[in-house]
């Protein structure tokens, strides 16, 4: 075997090894998701079977039908939970992104006293686990009378997301050359116009990605929501999952069905925005 065919063989073998590695990694990531979908479609006996039944024998949409059939018939107030989730996630995302844009812009463009300490302080808030705050927040919210309200949860989520959105958006504004805003001001813009006409469109993909992250954090958050909400009027979808647990039983199938209902909107949104995100990043081409 000459050198060239040896090298060719080696390249081919390496390719196969890479693919196997990649397959294993993707399997680890995707299997739980797939398992949730499968479990929502099969009877409890099959879900609990040991050894696991890999190929479903008996598929039905009973759990989905039951979910929407109202209280008393195995249903839960899924529409209300969905509405709560949507209101709370969208509102807190909009607020967090607005604050993130203002803050990120300030950190990227202005020099001020204590800038790095403030920035570090903001980042440090991310080190505190949300669950550790739930008890103090609970007492505080009870006193303020905002327990079990949309407003209370929105407030908590905004606080949770703002450091992250500031950090992410700051990075994107830094990539937009300062010259562009200055050129716009010379071209007749006010500082405000220069921001909206030039800097905002260029940092758009970054702001969109900050928005996705903030939205998903709110949409999937469980620990705080389970402490700060009680009733159908404020509970979000992740908290709604607990409706499937009774004193002695857990309805795994129902829980998985609700999980699927939760995942679909998040997945769809991410997919739609992600296309714009990639498009925006490639057409930006600030440097060159």
């Amino acid at each position: 075997m000459d050198e060239n065919s040896a090298a060719r063989l080696k390249r081919r073998l390496t390719g196969i090894v890479y693919r196997i590695g990649l397959f294993l990694a993707m399997l680890t990531i995707c299997l739980p998701g797939l398992w949730i979908v499968l479990s929502s479609l099969r009877p409890t006996v099959e879900i609990m079977a040991k050894p696991p039944v890999w190929i479903p024998q008996d598929i039905s949409f009973d759990a989905y039908v039951a979910m929407f059939s109202g209280i008393g018939k195995g249903g839960i107030p899924v529409i209300e939970y969905f509405r709560n989730s949507l209101i709370i996630s969208v509102t807190s995302t909009v607020i967090a992104v607005a604050i993130g844009m203002a803050g990120g812009y300030a950190f990227a463009r202005y020099r001020f006293r204590g800038k790095s300490s403030v920035f570090l302080g903001l980042m440090l808030t991310r080190t505190v686990p949300g669950i550790a705050l739930s008890l103090p927040l609970f007492f505080l919210y009870v006193r303020l009378g905002i327990i079990d309200t949309h407003f209370g949860l929105i407030l908590a989520y905004v606080a949770l997301n703002v450091p992250f959105t500031i950090w992410l958006i700051d990075g994107f504004f830094r990539q937009v050359p300062k010259d562009l805003a200055e050129a716009a001001q010379i071209d007749g813009c006010t500082r405000w116009q220069a921001f909206w006409q030039v800097e905002f469109p260029l940092a758009g993909p970054g702001i969109a990605s900050a928005a996705i992250f903030a939205f998903l954090t709110c949409w999937n958050e469980f620990a705080l929501a389970s402490q700060l909400t009680r009733s159908v009027s404020a509970k979000t979808l992740p908290v709604g999952l607990l409706d499937y647990t009774a004193e002695f039983t857990i309805d795994w199938r129902g829980m998985c069905a609700l999980a699927v209902v939760m995942i679909i909107p998040a997945l769809t949104l991410t997919y739609i925005v992600q296309k714009h995100l990639v498009g925006g990043l490639t057409s930006g081409a600030v440097k060159g």
């Binding site: 050129a183 716009a184 010379i186 071209d187 813009c189 116009q193 469109p201 260029l202």
Partner: protein, 365 residues
């Protein structure tokens, strides 16, 4: 079209002074180049005129109107940036028309003015492209087009050619000159490249450490530099500058070598004075191979060893050893020379310069 007047213009960041109270009057339609090494305050001065930096003291007048505290948009200026600063998310057409759109100019008027600017700069074929699809030279032209469209009182250029390669730079330099001839407006042009300044400007302002060293026509700053710094900065290759002491009508260098004191300085120096002697490469040449061969009034002949030669085709830079260091000379109609060879050199002392060692000021009266 407008005059620009800087009065005691000062810029400080905290306690650090960047520009120290400069005065400058620029006449209508004049092309002024601000030139100097990095950190001399030339860009800061330009940015203060543009309104992108606040001024710490003094005043700026454009067209007789004090604009100290006006925002950039109210000064009726336009600026070409070193980075071009084209808006990446807009086409060339939108880039050109952006200022008009902001000003609320009617669509037909806007289209007409964009078309005019595009015709002047030959951008017609590029109007629907994005900046990322243009070459460096094309981007530079779009940036200039964007400046023209506004029909400003004053054009500001901030090192506009320094991102281009050498060939394109020469080409764009010519285009800028043609453009100025065409639009006939006041131009303030910042560059660290003295060749650009010399070729483009009506007058050159040489800055150093936040002060103006000299203001003059290219001819003046080249022929009659008022300080040692200007003498060394303007001209390529730079002027040969060496310290010497005056002794009975002679210049005595550190190595002990001597040259006669040029006649034009005899009245201004006395024995014992410490001076800096300067001679441009054009005024020191192998005998018979100089610009002023035969016509010069005060030529001193001396035989010197050659260290290195740099042939450039039409001329050769010859480095000769004098006073323990290399002096660069320019040889026209070059003939082959070898390192180490001793050649007869002509020094045209009528073109020599003398500067006071302590103040750096010229000793020419």
């Amino acid at each position: 079209m407008a005059t620009v007047s800087l009065k005691k213009l000062t810029k400080r960041y905290g306690n650090v002074g960047i520009v120290h109270g400069i005065d400058l009057d620029i006449t209508d339609r004049e092309f002024i180049a601000l030139v100097g090494p990095s950190g001399c305050g030339k860009s800061t001065t330009l940015r203060m005129i543009a309104g992108l930096e606040e001024i710490s003291a003094g005043s700026i007048e454009i067209g007789g109107r004090v604009v100290n505290d006006l925002p950039p948009r109210s000064r009726n200026i336009s600026m070409v940036f070193q980075s071009y600063a084209l808006y990446p998310h807009m086409t060339v057409r939108e880039n050109l028309g952006f200022s008009l759109k902001i000003a609320g100019v009617a669509k037909e008027d806007m289209d007409r003015r964009v078309a005019e600017a595009s015709a002047i700069l030959g951008l017609d074929a590029l109007l629907d492209r994005r900046p990322s699809q243009l070459s460096g030279g094309q981007r530079q032209r779009v940036a200039m087009g964007r400046a023209i469209v506004r029909d400003p009182d004053v054009f500001l250029f901030d090192e506009p050619l320094s991102n281009l390669d050498a060939k394109l730079r020469t080409q764009m330099r010519t285009e800028i000159k043609k453009l100025h001839a065409k639009v006939q407006s006041t131009v303030i042009y910042v560059t660290h490249d003295q060749v650009e300044a010399m070729t483009l400007a009506d007058r050159i302002v040489i800055m150093r450490d936040g002060h103006i060293e000299q203001v003059g026509t290219p001819e003046e700053v080249f022929r009659r530099p008022s300080t040692r710094f200007v003498a060394g900065f303007i001209g390529s290759p730079p002027m040969n500058l060496h310290e010497a002491t005056i002794d009975n009508g002679q210049l005595v260098f550190a190595s002990g070598e001597k040259l006669p004191l040029p006649g034009q300085f005899k009245a201004n120096v006395t024995t014992g004075d410490r001076v800096v002697f300067g001679l441009r490469p054009d005024d020191i040449y192998p005998t018979g191979h100089g610009i002023s061969s035969g016509g010069a009034a005060d030529v001193h002949q001396i035989e010197l060893p050659i260290t290195v030669t740099e042939p450039l085709g039409n001329e050769t830079l010859v480095f000769v050893e004098f006073n323990g260091s290399d002096w660069v000379s320019r040889m026209l109609n070059p003939k082959p020379l070898k390192s180490g060879e001793r050649v007869a050199m002509s020094l045209d002392l009528s073109q020599a310069h003398l500067f006071a060692t302590d103040t750096g000021k010229t000793l020419r009266s």
